[in-house]
């Protein structure tokens, strides 16, 4: 049996203790927030890496990526050779008024031309301004953070693990030529040989 009123006093103590502590408010416009790595702020584009393969535009669930391109013919350098053709990017635009920040375009890009940047202060007064053309998307590239370091006990990156395993296997097996090692690796991990 507790003394009546202790609950009331406890309530007062809790609020008073809270008052003496620092508040948890983030003073956003005055102090910029510490964004977590991989924050989805804005999508940046390395134009030189883009081959206008249209994968991002087709995978985008909200159809917010616009790509225009044309084929450029590079004439054959040798006599009787074939002309080469190359895609030239005319327009690459992302409409951030439709984008839902799902990150599918970035994951699907085979050439790592798209990246997340942490910047988020690009609100506009006119909705049409939210369609960022490729020049602006290229500018965002400067704000892309460096890849964050791995956690302390995390697995090493996949490429490193694969290479180490290959070396280990090469050492334990009977000595073979370098080409054989390459072939073994190709057999164990098909599709990764090109990296």
């Amino acid at each position: 049996m507790s003394i009546p009123g202790t609950g009331l006093l406890k309530g007062l103590v809790v609020t008073m203790r809270n008052m003496t502590r620092r508040s948890v408010t983030a003073h956003y416009p005055d102090a910029l927030p510490a964004l977590p790595p991989r924050s989805r702020g804005v999508i940046a584009l390395i134009e030189e890496k883009c081959t206008s393969c249209m994968l991002c535009a087709r995978e985008c669930p909200s159809w917010c990526i616009y790509i225009d391109s044309h084929k450029d013919v590079i004439p054959a350098t040798t006599e009787g050779g074939r002309d080469k053709s190359r895609n030239v990017l005319d327009r690459f635009a992302i409409d951030f008024s439709i984008c839902m920040y799902c990150s599918i375009c970035i994951e699907v890009c085979p050439f790592d031309a798209l990246h997340w940047a942490g910047e988020f202060e690009y609100a506009e007064l006119d909705i049409r301004e939210l369609t960022h053309e490729k020049e602006r998307l290229r500018e965002w590239m400067w704000t892309v953070p460096a890849p964050s370091a791995l956690d302390e006990h995390a697995e090493p990156a996949k490429e490193i693990a694969t290479a180490e395993k290959a070396v280990e296997r090469a050492e334990t097996a009977e000595p073979r030529s370098v080409e054989t090692v390459e072939t073994t690796r190709e057999r164990d991990h098909p599709g990764e040989g090109g990296k």
């Binding site: 309530g11 809790v14 809270n18 502590r21 408010t25």
Partner: protein, 319 residues
């Protein structure tokens, strides 16, 4: 001529305190409540930690349109905020800050203050009744029920201390006060404070304006300056209640170096009680309407009757 100047000066000081003190309490509520909830409260108005927030609020209220509902009882609707606010101004007139430092020293000061504070609640009731809105009406009825229930322990608690001092004059009560009264009159002090909170409709006794149930109770149809006057009345009420509690039960200007710093002691005690009003608001949830009535009739009234008996015994034994 000198007498006239003296009266004018006293009135001016009381009016200044009446306009300033509620704003101070409001700002303390803004900031203290925010920090109790791990927030920071207003930070921008005025530059330094939002000190001018309430002034900015006032400017905003003045700019708003003055709307009276078509079905409302126009006259009653319009004078209700004034009826709610003015009694607290009148009450501040008779509360002594230091020996001789009082707007007007009345022989029946405590009686006058209690009577006037009752009128303040009528303003809210008028607003609820005249708004032609069911939520306002329900809120008004709740105000009436609350006034009925809590006026009795409120008056009895004040009567206890008046009995102990043997006078109805507020100055006289402070003169007669001695530190051991803190213990002797403790139940009366608690009852007085709790009943006062209920009469001001402050949380946890804010059923008349319970926003989850009644929109904003009697103030639902009010906007702009009239609404601001109601809110100002609430904070002026806090000031009056805190000052009364300090004067009646905490010894007013009694304290170290009371000959020079007496008025500081009164203000410090008033400020502390006002802080407790805010503190209680943050700590406790709102009572239910039946709990409210039960607390008054089964808790406070018997307690204060017991206190009256103790006071009477004390007076007979020591006098």
């Amino acid at each position: 001529m000198g007498e006239l100047l003296d009266v004018a000066l006293r009135l001016a000081v009381v009016l200044g305190a009446f306009l300033l003190a509620p704003l101070l309490v409001g700002q303390v509520e803004h900031k203290a409540m925010a920090h109790m909830q791990s927030r920071v409260g207003p930070m921008y108005a005025g530059g330094f930690h939002g000190w001018a927030q309430l002034i900015a609020d006032g400017v905003k209220f003045v700019q708003k349109e003055d709307v009276v509902p078509a079905a409302a009882d126009r006259t009653v609707f319009k004078i209700a905020p004034a009826v709610a606010l003015l009694p607290y101004l009148v009450a501040m007139l008779v509360i002594p800050i230091g020996p001789g430092l009082v707007g007007q020293d009345l022989d029946v000061g405590i009686f006058f203050v209690l009577a006037v504070m009752g009128v303040g609640v009528i303003g809210t009731l008028m607003g609820g009744w005249s708004s032609a809105n069911k939520f306002s009406l329900l809120g008004g009825i709740r105000v009436a029920a609350q006034l009925m229930a809590y006026e009795l322990p409120f008056v009895l608690a004040a009567a206890s201390v008046a009995m102990a001092a043997g006078t109805l004059s507020l100055t006289g009560i402070v003169m007669a006060w001695e530190p051991w009264w803190l213990l002797w009159q403790a139940p009366a002090a608690i009852v007085f404070f709790v009943a006062g909170l209920a009469e001001l409709q402050r949380p946890p006794f804010d059923m008349p304006v319970a926003d989850a149930e009644l929109v904003f109770g009697p103030y639902t149809e009010y906007g702009g300056l009239r609404f601001a006057l109601f809110i100002l009345a609430e904070y002026a009420g806090i000031v009056v209640l805190s000052a009364l509690t300090a004067v009646l039960f905490l010894g007013g200007w009694h304290g170290p170096a009371e000959d020079q710093l007496g008025w500081v002691w009164t203000l410090v005690k008033t400020g502390l009680v006002a802080f407790v009003v805010v503190w209680v608001r943050v700590a406790y949830p709102r009572l239910r309407e039946d709990q409210l009535q039960r607390l008054a009739w089964q808790g406070l009234v018997p307690l204060v009757l017991l206190q009256l008996a103790i006071t009477a015994a004390g007076v007979v034994v020591f006098a």
